[in-house]
Amino acid sequence: MLSIVVAGFAAWLTLDAPLAKLVPQEGGLRIAREFFARAVTPALDYESPVPESTPHILIQALAAARRTLVFAAAGMSLALVLGIVLGFFATSAWWAGESSGGTSPLRRALARTVGPAVWTVSRVLIVVMRSVHELLWAVLFLAAFGLNTGGAVAAIAIPYGGTLAKIYSEMIEEAPRDAALALRGAGAGPVQVFFFALVPRAGPDLAAYTFYRFECAVRSAAVLGFFGFPTLGYAIAQSFENLHYGEVWTYMYALILLVVAIEVWSGALRRRFVA
């Protein structure tokens, strides 16, 4: 804790009081006023002429919100698979407690080496996946594959998979082991113990965290639009470049609505299954 505070002070000194620069210039202040003034009057129609065939802006916003959700869901579902598989291998709880009583020396030697080796490899993989932000993954995939839907999905799935795996394994390690010991004592194997005693014991936390990450995935998918993927970010970037602040707010409200809707949905699910 203290070291974080010390590092914080050092950072502020190095950066030469960045907050002072936040006092805006005359021109910047005018733009900011103009922008925030439109928050209460988001555009209900396009602010410049558009081709006949263009759908109404609200339809456009809804369609972009739907595409944002689709990107987020696609990325998240892949991340979920990665998170569960890597989370399983990065958890020591299901093999570390395995009694060696009666097993052959070869098996015991294997348990001592293979378990920790798999654990270490998964941990390293998780760190690599997580340490690169989804936007950097997106840049990487853009450079490699061009504007490819799969690239956007993978850009979300890889860092999110790593994060899910890390948090899942930590939650499972910290969950009470009583039921796991009981099922092992009733002859259940390590994989059964993992899925039917350790995971359910951490279940409510796992579910809550997964929903939170889904929300994050929606925001990430929106931001990926700035690279040209057809999500809300794309619409926001375009309107912003044209100084159509009203339109920007229309799309922003669509994003906020989307996140609120997910929150309400996850809350309802949690009340039904967890509380």
């Binding site: 009694s99 060696s100 009583g101 009666g102 097993t103 052959s104 098996r107 009583d178 039921a179 010991l181 009981a182 099922l183 092992r184 004592g185 009733a186 002859g187 259940a188 194997g189 994989v191 059964q192 899925f195 039917f196 005693a197 359910p200 014991r201 279940g203 409510p204 967890v274």
Partner: protein, 285 residues
Amino acid sequence: MNSSARPLSTSVSCADPEAWRQARPGSAAFELHGAGVVYSGRAALAEASLVVDPGEALALVGPSGAGKTTLLRLLNASIAPTTGSVCVDYRRLDALDAAALRAVRARIGFVHQDLALIPNYRVLANVVAGSLGRMSFAASVRAMLFPRGADVERAAAILERVGIGEKLYQRTDSLSGGQRQRVALARALYQEPSALLLDEPVSSVDPARARDLVDLVADISRERGLTLVVSIHDIELARTFFPRLVGLRGGRIVFDGPTASIGARDLAALYSLDGLERVEPARIA
């Protein structure tokens, strides 16, 4: 009676590779031969020798920290002894591979002191979890997520037998302590065990319920021919329901014999203050 452990049975040697084939299928036999368990430098159990015949019912008595839980965990192969050996159904456990060890554990129902249920599961799922030890992973996914009608009926019948038949579909954490204890018992029975081991089943419920529960467990064990080993610090309950008492103190077996032969002096010695942090003099007859 002031004897130490009674002499070990010589008719069936634990190491005899053929004797276990004659083991009674419905009731387990246990043997400890000079078994000791050391937890991080401290001896939890030392030189314990004990023979439990198939279908027998006995109570482990003694103050907390005497080694009762450790002894029970040895019997269901949850832990391996540091010294000596353990036999279940006339087979030495240290000679078994992992799969055979799982098969032994699957035949022994264990009701833990803290119950070790999954609170956010329905009662049905907690009970069905008792059968995982006999299943492949694929079969267990099916049994846990989509239990077949026959499984549900069997779970319902067991819950009925332990007195909470109507709780089948309730969430486990919505039940009272006494009801949860019966769920744990039902899970152990769902294993179709040949022995029941109970660790301090009366510590978490009031005396009247405790009596009911011990009565129920003794009844079920008789009815199904299960070998029954219960650790219990309430001497009166132990004397009422168990024909044989094994006293533990400081990790050692200090007496072992028919209940009628265990006198007040044995019990007084078991719970005397010397070297013990906690005693319960009021419970001594």
